[in-house]
Structure formats: C-alpha cells, structure tokens
Symmetry: C2
Subunit: 557 residues, 2 copies
Amino acid sequence: MAEADRNVIVVGGSAAGLRCACRLARLQPGWSIKIIEAKEIFGYSACGLPYVLSGDLESLAVLRRTDYMVVKDETYFSNYKGVEILAGHRALEIDTEKRVVRVEGPGGPMALPWDDLVVATGSTPVPLPGHRDHPRIVTFHTWDDVKPLKQKLAGGELERVAIVGAGPTGCELAEAFRSLWGAEVTLIDAAASPLPAVLDPEVGALVAGQLESKGVRVICDSPVESIDPGEEVVTLRAGALELEADIVVAAVGVRPNVALARAAGIEMGAADAIAVDDRMATSLARVWAIGDCAEVRDAVTGEKTWMTLGSLGNRQGRTLANILAGREEVSPPAAGTMAVKVFDLAVASTGSTETAALERGVRARSSWITTFERAHYWPDSHEVHLKLVYDAESRRVLGLQAVSEGAATRCVDVASQLLLRRATLEEFVEIENAHAPPFGVPIDPVSIAAFAAQNQEEGFEAASPDLDLGETVVLDVRGREDAEASPVSAARVANIPLGELRARLGEVDPATRIVACGRGTRSAEAARLLRGRGIPVRYLGGGLRWRGSMGGGQPQS
Amino acid sequence: MAEADRNVIVVGGSAAGLRCACRLARLQPGWSIKIIEAKEIFGYSACGLPYVLSGDLESLAVLRRTDYMVVKDETYFSNYKGVEILAGHRALEIDTEKRVVRVEGPGGPMALPWDDLVVATGSTPVPLPGHRDHPRIVTFHTWDDVKPLKQKLAGGELERVAIVGAGPTGCELAEAFRSLWGAEVTLIDAAASPLPAVLDPEVGALVAGQLESKGVRVICDSPVESIDPGEEVVTLRAGALELEADIVVAAVGVRPNVALARAAGIEMGAADAIAVDDRMATSLARVWAIGDCAEVRDAVTGEKTWMTLGSLGNRQGRTLANILAGREEVSPPAAGTMAVKVFDLAVASTGSTETAALERGVRARSSWITTFERAHYWPDSHEVHLKLVYDAESRRVLGLQAVSEGAATRCVDVASQLLLRRATLEEFVEIENAHAPPFGVPIDPVSIAAFAAQNQEEGFEAASPDLDLGETVVLDVRGREDAEASPVSAARVANIPLGELRARLGEVDPATRIVACGRGTRSAEAARLLRGRGIPVRYLGGGLRWRGSMGGGQPQS
C-alpha cells in the first residue's frame, strides 16, 4: 500500500489517542486516520471532572469545548482535524494476521484494516476488596460518573461519604463533597498519610492538616477489610475503623486497560501495562501503545514503570504521530511531575519520594524549607513548603515536593526540567529566575532547598519537620513574643532569640539537640554557632510553621 | 597572617556585598569581615522601592525588615550574622600596595587592612543629556529618592510627570505615578517600544497597549534632545515632542559604579564594568568584584557583558563567599532572566531578543503564541503571550519573552533553566510540567511555542503579530460571530470558519497571504490546508488577541 493512503487505527479517544491522531492528520493529510472509541462522549478533559462535582466549573459541557467554544464531538474532529471518530464502537479483537480490528458498533460488526495500530485504551479504576456492583459503591473516573453523584448530592441523599484512597482523585473528591455540599467526609488510606505515591509522610501531613482544617476526617494506616452495602447505608471496615456511610467512593487508583492488547498476544511490561520501547512500539510489529495503557521509563531510576498522567499521554501522542510520519524521535523518560489542588493548597511533586528511593536502596537524604514565594513584604505573599530529595552519594537530585497556598507548581516545574537532566545539588543552587517583588524572590526557593542540602552534607543537619520532640531538649531561637505566643512542645525548651545567641552561647544547655525557629532559617544559623561550640544539634527543617500546618496542635508560628 | 584571622573587606552594602559577607561569616566564623557602606540606610530591597511610591507597600520600613520583623541595621548584621558594617563610611581609596582601604567616616579617616577585598559598589543612574542638579529633574534609585517624591505627590505638586526611559524602572514608575496619584504621565523612550533591552517591538507593543489603556501616554522613537528646568515647569524636547511637566524623572538606566576600582588600577571590561574572571577575580590579586559593578558572562552569546539584576548579585555574593572560603567554584554564565510588573501585566524575559540576536549576525527566527496558562475552562484563567527566539541553524533556543495578566514569570523560569543548558527546540517540546486544571495545562505553553517554531522550520511560517495588513489579503478562520464582532483590518478579508474550510477550500482567494484567528491555533491548521493547495500563506503568530492587546484599534478577539 502506498504511503499516500496508509490506514492508521487508534483504539481509544483519550488525550493520548486524540493528540496522536490529530497531529498525524496534520502531518499526513492524505492518510486515513480513524479512532475507535467505546463511549459516545469523549474528548473531554477528564482532569476537570472533580471540579464539576465541586461546582468550581458550571457544567460538564465546559470540559468538552475548545477555547473557541466548539463542542469536541465527531463532527468537530472530522471538520477541524480531519480525523474520523467511530464513537460508541467497541474494539473487540486485534487480528494481527489479517491486520484488522474487529469492532462492534451501532451498525453491527466491522473489520477495520490497519497498517499501523495505536493502542490508547487508557486505564480503569481498581476495585476495592469486596467491591461489587451496588449503587452505594461507586468509582469516579469518567463523564458518566459525575451526574449520578451530583443528583444524589443535590437530593440530599449523600450526607455521609466515605472515600477510600487518599490519592489525587480521593483528595479532589473530598474537597468536592465537603466544600460545595457540606457532606460529612471520611478519607481513608492504607498508607501513613495522604498522597503516599508522591509525598513523603511529613509532606503528606501538610495535606492531612489542610483536609482536617476543612472538616474532612482523615483516617490513615487503615487498609480496607470489608464493605457491606445495605438498603440504607454501607458499612465499611478499615483498620480499627468501622464506619457507616451513605456511599463509598473507591479511589484507590487505576490500572491499565490491557485486555484487548493482551488477547492479541502483545507483551506486558511494568505494572502489567503494555511493554513498549522508547519509540512506543509494542512487541508486535506496527502496533504501538501510548498513554495510560503503556509503560514508561522513569527518569530517576532509569527503569520501566507505569504512570498515569494526562500531560504525559499528550506528549506521547504527539511524539508517536511524528514517529508514524517517519521521523526519528523517541519518547523521553518521565519524572512523574504532577499537581493536585486540595482546598486552598497547591500540592505538586516531581521525581522520587525519599521513601521510594530508600526502598530502592539509594542513600537518599532530604532537606526541608519553608520560605516565601514572592518578596515576604508583598501583601499577598504565601509561604511554600519544599522537600528536596537527593542521593547523598552522587549528589544528584531525585525529587521535589511542594505545598503552598500559592504557586507550588512553579517550583516543581522548574525542578522537573533540572531533574530530567540529572542535575546535582550544585546545579540546583544556580537556578536563574525572573525576579520582581510581586512575582518572586531573588534566590529561587528551589535553590534555597538545595543550599540546605549542601549545608547538610557539610555537617549542618536538618531534622524532619515531623520529628517527635517528646524526649528532646530544644532551643527556640525565635523572638520572645513568638516563643511565648506559640510555645514549642518538647521535653525541655529554652528561648534565646538568634540576635542574642552569640552573646549568650554560654547559657545554652549542652544537652540541647534541636534548634527551632519559624521557617528554619534562624535555627540553621544558630545550629552552626552551637556546633562551633561542640553541641551536636540539628535544626528543625522547614521550621515550626511547617510543623504547625501538619495539624495535631503544633505551634503555628 | 593565619587563616584563622583573615581580614575581608567588602566595599558596598548592596545585595551582593551583604550576601557575600554573611555567607562568609557562616563559613569562617573566626575571620574578621567588614562592610564599608557610604549610606546610613542599607540592606533594604531596592527592587521594592517603586511599590512604596505606588502605595502597594505601606512604608519604606517594610523593605528593610527580615521576614521575622527585625530591622536590618548594623546591630542586626552584627548580632544575627557576625558581620560588622561601617555605615555612613565612604571608601576613598584602595591602596593595593599596603593592602588597606582608606575610609572617611563620622569619626574621621581610617585605613582598614585587607587580605581579600570585595568590590560591590553597585550602579548609579545614567544622567540625561542636559541633566543638571535641579529639583525638577530627579532619578529614582535609592531609599532617599522615595520620600521627597512621595511628599510632592501628596502635596499635589506633581500633576504632570515626564518619565524618560521605558525600561523596568520607567514602567514601574509610570504605574506608581498614575495608579495611586492619578498624575498625567508621559513615558518617553528613544527606542521603538517599551522595555527594548528585553522585549522585541511586537512584545513591547503589548506593554505599550497596557500603559495606554491605563492612561499613560507612551512616546517612543523619541530621544531626548533638551531639558530646561524653570521655576514653575520643566520643558522637555524629545524627537518631535515638546512637553511641559512638573518634573522629569530620568530612568534611562544605570551604569556601574567603578570610580574607586578604576583609580586603584583595576582593569575594566564589558560596558565599562569591572573585568572579572569566572571566579569573580579582578585584575588585581585578591581583589574581587560582584554585583552591578562587575561584568558577567552572557549564557547565550558566551561573551562578557553587563547585567544589573538583584537576583544575579545575590547568587554571585554567595558563590564568592564559597570561593573565599577555599572552595573550587565558579560563577556560571547568566541569561539575564528578569521580570517587571506593569499595571495588570506580568512581563518576563530570558536570554536574547530577536533584535539583539540579528544584530549579532545570528540567523534568529521566532514563534509567537497566545494560549491559556491554566485549563481554558478554569474560571480565572489568563492568556499568556509568548515569543520564543531561536537560532534557525543550530535550533538552539536563544530567548523567551512572556506577557500575561497571570503567571508569565513561570514560563520564563522554566525556559531559563533550559536555555542555560543550551537546549534546542527538540528539548523545549519535551517540558514535563505539573498539570492540574487549576494550575496549568497538559502541554506546557513554552513547549507549544517550541512546536510552533518546529512547524515553522518545516515550512509553516508565522507572521509577526504586528505585521502591517494594509496591503494583504487575509482569511479569517474564526467563527462568524467573532469575525463580525471584531473584524480584521486589512486590504481584503474573507471569513471561512476552520470547521468549514476543508469543504470550502475552492472558495479561498489564491491571493490570500495571511490566515488569522483568535490565538493562532486554528489559523496555523488552516495555513497547512491552504499550503497543501499551493497557496503560500503564513498565519498570524499569536493571533488577533495579541494584535488586539497592542493598542491602536486592533480587534480584541
């Protein structure tokens, strides 16, 4: 078959599949490019679904419109993009010998020939243990999941909601149920803190603190044991918890949709996603896989892994279109850069957590800082909490976690580019940023975190913000007023403001082991002075402001 | 002299000098570290001064306080930082033979010995042609410049203000005089558009549009010829303009303060700043220079140049402290990444403009995009205008200019890291960003600009948003409503919405040379279709939204 009339079939009208098909239609306008999509409604922004439930967005319809207000339906893709979509058609079988896809549609069965086949079948929610088909047990993944929930909420049927899984979707749903609808929300996770895949516990604690401050009950360390749906309520047992709710939302994550590919004999890879090479080729010739159904190389470990990120699928779709059009390209490794809004907080992460790095056997260490995103004197400046994870041997940065009421994603976006280039602490301290008081600070917050890491490697160690101070002698170097207004809770606490410390070094209890202040800056300086006197102290990384935002009655300043 | 009691003298208590001294005091607590500072008030954030005038900040005092509310005076630096500051002391002479600095202070003359001398004498405003000492001709550079102006404004003495120089300070002052005080402000520049050092004309036009929409009169292409201050008014002639004002503010830039260094026989380098190597060593042994008084290597050209950026001085100060403490470090090249607020706009830039690159003989080309910073359906999402400048031969990205009512600095901060690593268009398309609808978009706006550049190099060319359409046949591919509500102004205009174009290709006038739409996305697709039919069109880069924001009666959508 001539290049001029090649047949490309894309299975799945997700972000990745649509991006690939539309780009390819631009590059090769003569080719026949078809998408097979099981649903009637597709091409919407799935990331926006929770915000329809929360009322931040006025309707589902906004998620399916272009920025020039055209609905992205079959007509749009045909007329604007030159791509034919068979919506409401199920792909039943990939016949690799005859090179056809067998499809069941409203008009009956069809066999669509392909020269290249792109599998973009996406992902599907993981069921809970004991999950079964019942109106009181739901998942939240597609367009169809929104309206029934919203109707029940509007009808007052959902006053008590249990959400299992404190990942991004679980956190977004907790906000939606709570903020607009005032439901009694319990968020349950088997891990020690929310967002465990992307945040270490002391960072997740900031998210837990936010959720709790908004009235969400957060129950961690509690794997689900049973779910018993009844007529009136559903009963859930998780860890020590037994709970009755009007509905249980299963948000324990998704898994790749690979049944079709597996049945065709395509090899599976990491996390049971479709195995692909760096050009997104599967084990079968001219069959390709992109988006949530395919594995991806982890930029930090260098190993194949599985990530589910709309931004990644979009990039892969474009790259595969270029490859199909004959270009020499590869899909680069990914750092798993992500963001999630949790009430007033922006939460973002890139690369590896410390927990994950230690599990891999890496000598990972971390620094923590709390600092201002803009000039601290700017009227609506916010603090940002950063945790920087690095390999203490190679000094390579492995990850950054950021939480703020402002632009936490900016820090992670900057770090992501450096991390993908295997940058070390020494490169992270040299970030050149756009500075003006309304927008930023003269030294990038990410560089400040790298300074803290460098200092730590020279012996000026930070302690994790969630360190238990119950047995510890603490020196509080804040000003007297702050020290009195929000005292540190520890075995023993003395207060010497940093400005007096040089003159009063003799007064410091040699048993002091932790120095604390508001954001970690003064205490880091004080720790140097004390170490110079032979007192082996660490400073409280991220300061008491971090600790205070974790919930649990810690001081707030 | 033993390492334990080395004498370090820093001349100048600016950001660079203070950062260097404080860091060095931490690394070498046994050393004697002194700063000689001519002014009594120092250690304040000079970047914040315009915002005191504008009323965004309540007082000058906030600029001189730490984030824990301690005033940064001599006592603070001594007690908190272990650094001695001789404020109100003028350095008169660097004696390189006796290795002393001669100083005149309130207590009379002194000679301070040094083992290492750091010159951090900063910069000073450039005078205007015909500038003389007169109360109606002022500059705006230091703490002392704010109060007299504010008093005159409060007293109603400054109703007509002429600002010469539309650089960052000129733009900030235009906003301050206009927004809080309602003065009649004229902003005058010799260049074709505001911010000419960091923005090309069609980007500067967005800033001019903003200034004009807020009632600032912007007069470009008008070098100052004379200034005649009188009793009641000052008369200013610039280009064709003759203007009477109550005051003229000279904001035509700054120059390095190098008299002291020059008199000591230290070699000068680029732009008459102090010549330094990559370790910030001057031509004299153990004399170093940092901050605004020293030259710096340009990351784009590889040549020495001169930049005046507080963020750069801060980083240099820290690096020099490390070097003085015996570490093997160098100060990396700089991209000149900067930001400025102009009323509602965030304006940011990194690297080289197209104008500057072409002047250097580089085969520079550009792409322009207008896109959303967050999901376009998110309620308070803003558009961002980006211009990406690249070398068409090496495909290396040379610069990015960003303008938006939102987070333009984020785009520039991401681009800055890549640019410093000499990244090409092919690397720019692979930006991995933190995406969630409230914070970002699945494909980074900076990558979208790089897509446009790649497409351009394949023959799908963009035209600059400021292209004169007076003689051009234009195809407007927006929807009918938009095309009627805000018609394109050109020799001849037809409207065929993109969604109908495939079916109506035969109707297109073969004389069509430009395709236009709102943001440049639809027109780029349409241009492919028309080029496929042999009509050699370009699309309007950045779209009609960009054009509409430039002022001058262009359509707004």
